[in-house]
């Protein structure tokens, strides 16, 4: 097991190294000028542009820039953002909590409500409840999250005035920590709902199928024959084994929630990594774009590694193969 784990970790590290080099080269191949800003008054002259390029090190050969970046990365330094004039590490650290809150909420909802509903559907296969949950999950799965976000913000936030349509917190809120926490919670509802409705639908369908497969296995019949209660059969014997395939889903969802919520963060002005990365792309802020990309790549690779390790830990057949 230890040897397997070491090999798998080295593979992950190598994958990350290749990803960093590819990301750097692709980012710098993007057409566009990192010094130009839309809506800026007088555009830069060529002489002015050259002066600023020298200041930000953009005039150096690409390989030299790559060497500088990799050297910095080894020291935990992702460089200084062109747009913000501040270290990229600090900027990412500032935005990570908002993304973690939104993504974490969605993950929790996804892997509680989604799994529960999926199991419920499987147990009640063919019932009216199964049919309308299937219809709802299909509809949810087919709904683009940015569209859903726009609709929820427009109806719940603007028309009904039930919840804030944008932002993470009201800067004018008075009161102590509790009031502030309640305010963040209010702002969280719509973006979390938008992402959850779509992701829960997928999890439900996945869990339903896995559970149906498991419930057909002979040991379930044995468990029932032994006189165990239906609750014990389903949750202790059935669900535990039907959970393995869903672990893969967790490994896939984690990076998507970090990087893939760009549209939802934009629609709801949620101050997370997604909106920061979107701004970096629009401004061709290479250091910030690279920092966000490396962070997401790391999360993808680590999530994949954790998923494999969890699989191997829970199912000996995986590590033996």
């Amino acid at each position: 097991m230890r040897h397997w784990l070491l090999r798998r970790t080295l593979q992950a590290a190598l994958t990350l190294a290749v990803a960093v080099v590819l990301l750097f080269l692709l980012t710098h191949l993007l057409p566009g000028d990192p010094l130009a800003r839309e809506g800026a008054g007088r555009p830069l002259t060529s002489v002015q542009r050259e002066a600023l390029q020298a200041r930000y090190g953009l005039d150096r050969p690409l390989l030299e820039q790559l060497g500088t970046f990799v050297g910095g990365l080894a020291r935990g330094d992702l460089g200084v953002s062109i747009e913000y004039g501040r270290p990229v590490v600090g900027l990412l650290a500032e935005r990570l909590p908002a993304t973690a809150l939104l993504g974490g909420t969605v993950l929790v909802l996804n892997f509680t409500v989604g799994l529960w509903l999926g199991v419920r559907q499987a147990v009640r296969k063919g019932s009216a409840e199964d049919r309308w949950l299937t219809t709802l999950s299909l509809a949810g799965y087919a709904t683009p999250s940015f569209w859903l976000g726009l609709v929820l913000a427009g109806i719940v936030g603007v028309r009904w005035h039930l919840l804030p349509p944008a932002g993470m917190r009201d800067p004018l809120i008075a009161g102590g920590t509790l009031a502030a926490a309640a305010d963040v919670l209010r702002h969280l509802v719509l973006p979390a709902l938008t992402l959850s409705l779509v992701s829960i639908a997928g999890t439900m369908r996945y869990q339903r199928n896995a559970m149906l497969e498991t419930l057909r296995l002979p040991y379930i019949v044995t468990a029932r024959a032994k006189g165990l209660s239906e609750r014990q059969v389903i949750w202790r014997h059935g669900w535990r084994n039907a959970l393995f395939p869903v672990l893969t889903l967790f490994g896939l969802w984690l990076p998507i929630l970090v990087s893939g919520s760009v549209f939802v963060e934009t629609v709801f002005a949620w101050p997370g990594l997604g909106s920061l990365a979107a701004a970096a792309v629009n401004g061709r802020d290479y250091p910030l774009l690279m920092g966000a990309s490396v962070l997401v790549a790391t999360i993808v690779i680590v999530a994949s590694l954790l998923s494999d390790v969890a699989y191997a830990f829970l199912d000996p057949r995986v590590r033996l193969s």
């Binding site: 130009a36 839309e38 008054g41 830069l44 002259t45 932002g167 800067p171 002005a269 909106s275």
Partner: protein, 548 residues
């Protein structure tokens, strides 16, 4: 289903509780939340260029840093009379190249230290250094020296007599506190702690920035021109225009700078009794720029657009008024020449030419463009009259207008292929001259001298390589005039119109939204929130109370 009912009830109760728990303090009554599209990252004069040349930075810097003087309501940049004293109490002209400013002795920095002539000299020394502020140094190139005479008097020396000496001294930058910055190497300033908590001399002082969310400013209690009635200003970030509008309509913000398309959004705002729509002229002018050079070989003239009659025909084939009215309603006018609504030289200019499809067809036919093969597209010696029209996909206005332009030109036999690009890509292609017709939009300074950049032969942003030596000489005459010389500037406009290097489509007004509890609302065309310190708060009710 009992458990379902219980679950739904609990969920609804939670939402209802969250919907009602949003206590605003008393301070909220005298605060304003402005929804803004960008984050103020470096709101410090002398640093706001290149990647930091953003409206968000300017908006915040204008509250923190006071200029020596400000443009008056006429926005006339020439001469010494149309300006309002600020840090400088007064100014006197010693001769045609020397201007002396007397600083207001009451002025202090936010940390209580008096503002002195030394601060002004320090700032302009940095601002005029191309290694520190290359763009600013270019704008201030006609200031030859700035020196202090005692603590309160600062003297500007110019290289030559010209009408905008005062404008150059006061508009482009505001003084910085030398006592806090002198020890910081100029090129290290952008990364210095000062930038994260700037200290200025303006009506508002820095409180904090919450990354990705808002920048908070508080009224400067020592502001010598009067403490602002609005005690707190919060610039709240929402990059997406629709999210900004939702913030305002949802009671999460009090104001925003431009109601986004479609026009039905204006009606949504106007229908609200607690909000008002404020039209404000902007520095933006949109135009179809004709490339004079072949995009595939810049050493050769453009095979179609280098002919003036073809360019003129395109202009005459377009019913600009109708298109602009249909797309922008009353929020824009068709300009005469490259003049935004805030450019003072547009007053007294002749009205722009209307559409004349018959004349357009005649001009094209006279140049040999006829539909020889009957495919509906004019051609000459086997070459069809086909052009690309490029713009950025970030501009809904230009995209809507481009489709109408495409259709109107089709009717006279010109085939237009419409291309949309992500802004950085669009900008790169534009700068490299890779376009036939570029649907551009420019934010102009209030000064007409900026026209030289785009429309003179050696203009630094003349990406179309338009060159008319007569325009150059007219620009030189107007720029060197020692008075306002509106007729000299209008001669420039007439010559540009006659040469048809572009079709000037619209000069834009923005429709701002402001909560009705604010009174004495004045929004400055050259810098939106500059006059915020003069606004007052009429009603005690805080924002958002009508909503959730």
């Amino acid at each position: 289903m009992t458990r379902w009912t219980l679950g739904v009830s609990l969920g609804a109760s939670l939402v209802a509780t969250l919907a009602t728990v949003h206590p605003h303090g008393v301070a909220a009554q005298s605060s304003i939340v402005i929804a803004t599209g960008g984050e103020a990252t470096v709101p410090v004069p002398t640093l706001m260029e290149g990647p930091h040349a953003s409206i968000a930075n300017t908006d915040v810097a204008d509250q923190l840093f006071l200029r020596l003087a400000e443009l008056g309501p006429t926005l006339i940049t020439a001469g010494d009379r149309a300006f309002v004293p600020r840090l400088a109490r007064s100014w006197t002209r010693r001769d045609s190249v020397t201007l002396a400013f007397d600083l207001d002795p009451r002025a202090t920095w936010h940390d209580g230290v008096p503002v002195t002539a030394k601060d002004v000299v320090f700032t302009f020394t940095r601002a005029r250094d191309p290694a520190i502020a290359p763009q600013l140094a270019g704008l201030l190139r006609r200031i030859s020296a700035v020196r202090a005479e005692g603590d309160r008097r600062v003297v500007f020396q110019y290289t030559q007599p010209y009408a905008e000496q005062l404008y150059d001294a006061v508009f482009h930058t505001a003084p910085l506190p030398s006592h806090l910055l002198a020890g910081i190497p100029p090129l290290a300033l952008a990364g210095a702690p000062f930038v994260q908590a700037p200290v200025g001399s303006g009506p508002y002082r820095w409180v904090r920035r919450v990354s990705g969310q808002y920048v908070e400013l508080a009224a400067n209690e020592r502001f010598f021109l009067g403490v602002p009635a609005i005690r707190r200003v919060l610039f709240r970030l929402a990059a997406d225009p629709d999210a900004r509008l939702n913030m305002v309509l949802g009671g999460e913000a009090d104001a925003m700078d431009n109601i986004p398309s479609p026009r039905s959004n204006v009606a949504r705002v106007a229908a609200r009794s607690d909000l008002r729509v404020v039209p404000v002229p902007t520095s933006t002018v949109g135009f179809l720029l004709f490339n004079q050079r072949d995009p595939r070989d810049r050493d050769r003239p453009h095979p179609i657009l280098s002919e003036r009659d073809v360019r003129r025909a395109i202009g005459l084939a377009l019913d600009r008024r109708r298109m602009v009215r249909a797309t922008l309603g009353n929020a824009a006018q068709v300009p005469y020449g490259p003049t935004s609504p805030i450019l003072w030289i547009r007053h007294g200019a002749p009205p722009p030419l209307g559409a004349n499809v018959h004349e357009a067809r005649r001009l094209l036919a006279a140049r040999g463009w006829k539909d020889h093969d009957g495919d509906g597209v004019l051609d000459r010696v086997g070459r069809p009259l086909a052009l690309t029209l490029s713009t950025t996909n970030s501009s809904a206005i230009r995209q809507q207008l481009a489709l109408q332009i495409q259709e109107q030109l089709r009717q006279v036999g010109i085939r237009v292929q419409f291309e949309r690009f992500d802004f950085p890509v669009y900008n790169e292609r534009r700068t490299a001259g890779r376009f036939d017709i570029d649907f551009a939009s420019t934010a102009q300074d209030p000064s007409p001298t900026g026209l030289g950049q785009g429309w003179s032969c050696e203009g630094s942003t003349n990406v179309a390589r338009y060159c008319d030596p007569v325009v150059d000489s007219l620009l030189e005459v107007a720029g060197q005039a020692t008075d306002a010389a509106p007729e000299a500037w209008r001669a420039v406009l007439r010559r540009i119109e006659a040469g048809a290097p572009a079709v000037f489509m619209y000069g834009l007004n923005y429709l701002f939204v402001v909560h009705r509890r604010f009174t004495n609302v004045r929004i400055r065309p050259e810098s939106s929130w500059l006059a915020l310190r003069e606004w007052t708060v009429a009603e005690p009710a805080p924002r958002g109370t009508a909503g959730y």
